[in-house]
């Protein structure tokens, strides 16, 4: 199977749970020891998808105001960006909008944007209504999903959506495995003569 590396960049205010989402996504795998990374700010995970293996290289960014200016270095070359906000804090949703604008102006072309309303387990403290966020996401043609890193809701679903939306670079790669099943027979039968 073809291995495809996908760089995914995480944006969003500090404290919205960016790294928690990644950790949940990465560590929900069967073998938690498979990811011997240095720290939670860079993680990888492999997921099989349509005859391909997608290897997510997840780049976390610092959300504090002071470090916001560094973001371009991180989202450069990304196939997808996940912008996270906290449904219990309205200002994080406003911040999300500035991130979207920034990406639209300076981000890579064809970047897949996913908007994740995190902490959806805290229903009582909700400040951002689902409809509002959903409409906004539709208006910018982004994936929208409400997640909870704590209770592991919709985490892998979100990445699945991203995988679906990422254009297939080489359409021919889909054909490969069907060849690979019997490569030798094909070859040798053609080389037999008489």
């Amino acid at each position: 199977m073809a291995l495809r590396e996908l760089k995914v960049c995480l944006l969003g205010d500090t404290g919205v749970g960016k790294s928690s989402i990644v950790c949940r996504f990465v560590q929900d795998s069967f073998d938690p020891d498979i990811n011997p990374t240095i720290g939670a700010s860079f993680m990888t995970k492999m997921v099989p998808r349509n005859n391909e293996i997608h290897k997510y290289l997840i780049w976390d960014t610092a959300g504090q105001e002071r470090f916001r200016s560094l973001a371009p270095m991180y989202y450069r070359g990304s196939a997808a960006a996940v912008i996270v906000y906290d449904i219990t804090k309205e200002e994080t949703f406003h911040m999300l909008k500035t991130w979207v604008k920034e990406l639209q102006h300076h981000g890579p072309q064809n970047i897949v944007v996913a908007i994740a309303g995190n902490k959806c387990d805290l229903v009582d403290m909700r400040e951002v209504q689902t409809e509002l966020a959903k409409n906004y996401a539709e208006s910018i043609d982004a994936i929208f999903i409400e997640t909870s890193a704590k209770t592991s809701i919709n985490i892998s679903e979100m990445f699945e959506e991203i995988s679906k939306k990422i254009p297939c670079v080489e359409p021919c790669t889909n054909d490969r495995p069907s060849f690979k099943l019997r490569p030798l027979q094909l070859e040798s039968s053609s080389s037999r003569c008489c």
Partner: protein
């Protein structure tokens, strides 16, 4: 060798009636020189003929159709993106029959699909299948012309034909010459064929039950898959040992290779040893019976089946399972084998034949070669019980050997020595400890760099100077010792790296002159670029071009695809180019980078800001609920020393490894939060700590290193973990540099974006656009003759005329009266003035190409005064037919 031939032709046992004829047809004319070329050497030298990666299946079939059974080609299938071994099989009814075997390339090794034996490179794989069929229906054989060639020159001469060889008159089949025995041979082959053609799947592999087909060298079996390093590195030595052992047993203990009747254990074991000898014999004399393998293999299998409760076998197996000792050789023991040649050869043969006591054991002994060597030199140190259990067999074998063993041992073993160094194609051997090659390389590099940097500018205070120095001395001397001893160990990767470096050193080839010219060019011009980034990007671009050139050109002989699995080629070339280009340039580059920085006042600024941040930052560091801990002074010191090591490396990839170590130290020191849920520390926590730690370390040179890595790393490497932390450190340094600015934030965004755009454009340039040869041709080295003699490398576009070059030279050499100077080409000790409208760079390329085909005298471009000179004639063009 005549002796040996006669011993084979006068068998002391009954043979089937066809046999003498067959063996005569297989017996090649034996000349001593013939014997000096091992099969591996023959394969390496003849690769232009059988290694045809570009041809399609139809062509391969067409070629092999005409050939004898066992003939083979290696090509590459575009359908499955793998190399394919196409083998001509026996035809049962006169029809031709070709079978393809895919070659698997993973874990840095080559193996046939369906086989569990893997090899360090393609040549070793083919060499093995020339003597043992394993999953193949028969052994492979080189064309007759190569089997009989008596010198390297002869083989090379035939190889020059390339694919044309197959149709040429050189490719005569020996059956035609020896038609008298052809039919008989054919008959035997057919007989054998019926027995042996089995699907690969039906061949039992010893690891299953342990009692079938034990002649497979267990060195390569998957049960030892975890010892990949060991396996790779030892494969060379084991091949050699294998040959030595078989040769010894062969001459003396050759009973018929047929299934023997039930015999006492001891005897049977000896017989098997001779079977082994048969199996491996063709290594020594090429073109010998390829079928013996299958016959004996069959016999052996039966034999093993019939005695499953073999206690001897159990003990042998037990030994195989023993842990493998560390593969370090004692220098002493190795040296003594060399000096007391005859003596130790004797002992070696003892050991080998004792090992051959059970074939499994004989081969399994290869798994622990270090043990074996020490085994006969230092019996005290090694497994005593093993020796005693083998004693009987040993004694018997020894008796046999002693009785008949002539003095020619040493010469014979030389014949089978892959590593004798007589072959120019096999590069000299490198060495390194197996246990921690990576680590040692790093240390080695540090040592070199430390020496170099003794008087280097822009150095921060070195830490633990005296200790480090002692340590270096120790490591250096131990490396030297190890390298003397482990001459034989060299992975294909190292061979390729060494080969590339040799090419790069040699001005007589195009690649070498290119690299050397560029090095000179950068050393002279590194201060003249607009920014430091421009300088580094130019170097990176050149690295890409060189890599492409090596991949596409034919400088590498044998082709790199035959030595390195395809997925690793890029990495290996990158490593090699770092070594031959960045290593000599490192100092100049870093000096230049420092210069650019101090010119702009950046270093000073950085230093001031770092101190300020170190004072101010900790308080507002972490606005989160649970701030991470800051590193303790001890950890800080560790981080500092790790970062210090950065500047002793020339390779950006190794620098990144160090950077990752430093980041790991920071992460570890942040600790886990005890209370509540263990919130993972993401970038929100890490980046502020990183900025603070870098400020506390107070090492402005890290900025230089980060730029070096950022720009010189292969762009594709910037996406992974190394890329992430490199970006983070880069970002942190950026923040530190701009800390003082009032609107740092705003300014930064634009700055960051600008540099970002640069990266982006470089990526597309480096990745997509394939550089043409023209790109690398834009350098020309001109010698300025005016009383003295100075040479400089000049950049000119590929189509620059001689006139333009004259102008460039006038500027470069500060000539006051340029009208009186002109560019000449010096070739064969004659000067030719280049006409104004000729293109010197084209001429250079043309001459280089010519020299690649056949070695010629060196040529120079000379810029000198036009004056009365006897040896000058005004010719405009270069004589093309020399």
């Amino acid at each position: 060798m005549a002796e040996k031939a006669s011993s084979t032709e006068e068998p002391d046992y009954a043979e089937p009636s066809e046999r003498p004829a067959v063996s005569r047809s297989w017996c090649l004319p034996r000349h001593s020189s013939l014997q000096h070329i091992s099969i591996l050497d023959r394969l390496i030298l003849s690769h232009p003929v059988w290694l045809q990666l570009a041809i399609n299946p139809a062509k391969a079939m067409h070629i092999l159709q005409q050939e004898q059974p066992g003939a083979f080609l290696v090509r590459r299938s575009t359908t499955i993106q793998k190399k394919i071994l196409s083998v001509r099989l026996f035809s049962e009814d006169g029809s031709c029959f070709i079978e393809d075997f895919a070659i698997r390339e993973n874990q840095s090794t080559f193996s046939l699909e369906g086989s569990s034996i893997s090899f360090a490179d393609l040549f070793r794989l083919i060499a093995f299948y020339c003597v043992s069929r394993d999953v193949l229906p028969s052994t492979l054989r080189l064309p007759f012309a190569f089997q009989t060639a008596r010198s390297h020159q002869e083989i090379e001469a035939i190889s020059h034909l390339g694919i044309e060889f197959w149709n040429s008159s050189q490719n005569k089949h020996h059956e035609c010459e020896d038609s008298g025995c052809g039919s008989a041979a054919e008959k035997v082959k057919n007989d054998i064929d019926e027995v042996k053609t089995r699907a690969p799947g039906t061949i039992a592999i010893p690891q299953a039950s342990g009692d079938a087909l034990c002649f497979i060298n267990p060195l390569f079996l998957e049960e030892h898959a975890d010892e990949t390093m060991l396996r790779r590195a030892w494969s060379k030595r084991s091949m050699r040992r294998l040959r030595v052992s078989t040769e010894k047993t062969l001459t003396n203990l050759s009973p018929p290779p047929r299934p023997p009747p039930p015999v006492p254990q001891l005897r049977r074991n000896l017989q098997e040893s001779s079977i082994l000898a048969e199996v491996t014999k063709p290594i020594g004399d090429m073109g010998a019976k390829p079928d013996t393998v299958s016959v004996s293999g069959q016999g052996m299998e039966n034999d093993f089946d019939s005695s499953s409760n073999d206690s001897m076998y159990d003990t042998l197996k037990a030994k195989v399972d023993k842990p493998v000792p560390p593969p370090r050789l004692k220098k002493k023991s190795f040296m003594s084998t060399k000096t007391n040649k005859i003596n130790s050869e004797d002992e070696l043969s003892e050991v080998s034949s004792s090992k051959a006591g059970g074939c499994f054991q004989s081969f399994s002994s290869l798994v622990k070669p270090a043990n074996d060597y020490s085994h006969y030199k230092h019996p005290m140190n090694t497994n005593q019980e093993e020796e005693s259990s083998d004693e009987d067999i040993m004694a018997l074998a020894e008796a046999h050997l002693r009785r008949t063993l002539p003095r020619r041992l040493s010469s014979e073993s030389r014949i089978f020595d892959f590593d004798s160094g007589t072959v120019p194609s096999i590069p000299e051997l490198d060495s390194s400890s197996l246990s921690s090659i990576e680590e040692e390389m790093i240390e080695e590099e540090i040592l070199e760099a430390t020496e170099e940097s003794e008087n280097g500018a822009c150095r921060p205070p070195r830490l633990h100077r005296s200790n480090a120095f002692d340590f270096q001395e120790k490591v250096r001397s131990s490396i030297r010792k190890v390298s003397e001893v482990l001459q034989l160990l060299l992975t294909p990767e190292k061979r390729v790296i060494r080969k590339v470096c040799e090419l790069a050193q040699d001005r007589h080839n195009y690649f070498g002159s290119l690299v050397q010219d560029y090095i000179v060019y950068i050393q002279e011009n590194c201060d003249n670029f607009h920014t430091s980034t421009d300088l580094l990007q130019a170097v990176r671009q050149f690295l890409n071009q060189l890599k492409n050139y090596l991949l596409k050109g034919n400088e590498m002989d044998p082709p790199i695809e035959s030595l390195i699995p395809e997925c690793d080629i890029d990495t290996v070339l990158e490593k090699a180019l770092h070594k031959c280009l960045l290593k000599p340039l490192k100092r100049s580059l870093e000096k230049a980078l420092c210069k650019y920085r101090s010119r702009d006042g950046i270093l000073e600024q950085l230093r001031t800001n770092m101190r300020r941040v170190a004072r101010e930052l900790p308080a507002p560091l972490a606005p989160g609920a649970t701030p991470p801990r800051l590193p303790e002074p001890a950890v800080l010191e560790k981080i500092r020393s790790t970062l210090t090591r950065l500047q002793y490396m020339y390779s950006p990839s190794k620098k990144v490894i160090l950077l990752l170590k430093a980041c790991k130290l920071i992460y570890d020191s942040m600790g886990n939060l005890g209370h509540g849920a263990r919130r993972p520390f993401g970038a929100d926590d890490f980046i502020p700590v990183l900025v603070y730690v870098l400020a506390r370390c107070d090492m402005p040179f890290v900025d230089v290193e980060v730029e070096y890595m950022m720009e010189l790393l292969e762009p594709s490497q910037l996406n992974g973990e190394g890329g992430y932390y490199l970006t983070s450190v880069y970002g942190a340094m950026y923040l530190l540099k701009n800390y003082h600015r009032e609107e740092a934030d705003k300014q930064l965004r634009t700055d960051a974006r600008n540099s970002l755009r640069q990266w982006h454009s470089r990526r597309t340039v480096g990745g997509k656009v394939v550089p043409s040869v023209e790109d690398v041709q834009s350098f020309i080295r001109v010698v300025f003759q005016d009383g003295g003699c100075t040479a400089k490398t000049i950049v000119a576009h590929p189509l620059a005329t001689a006139e333009e070059l004259c102008q460039l030279c006038a500027d470069k050499f500060h000539v006051s009266d340029p009208d009186n100077f002109h560019v000449f080409l010096m070739l064969n000790n004659t000067y030719q003035e280049l006409a104004a409208d000729t293109h010197p760079l084209k001429i250079k390329a043309e001459l280089h190409n010519k020299r690649q085909l056949k070695p010629a005298d060196p040529f120079y471009f000379i810029y000198r005064r036009v004056g009365p000179s006897s040896d000058r004639y005004s010719g405009s063009s270069i004589p093309t037919d020399q």
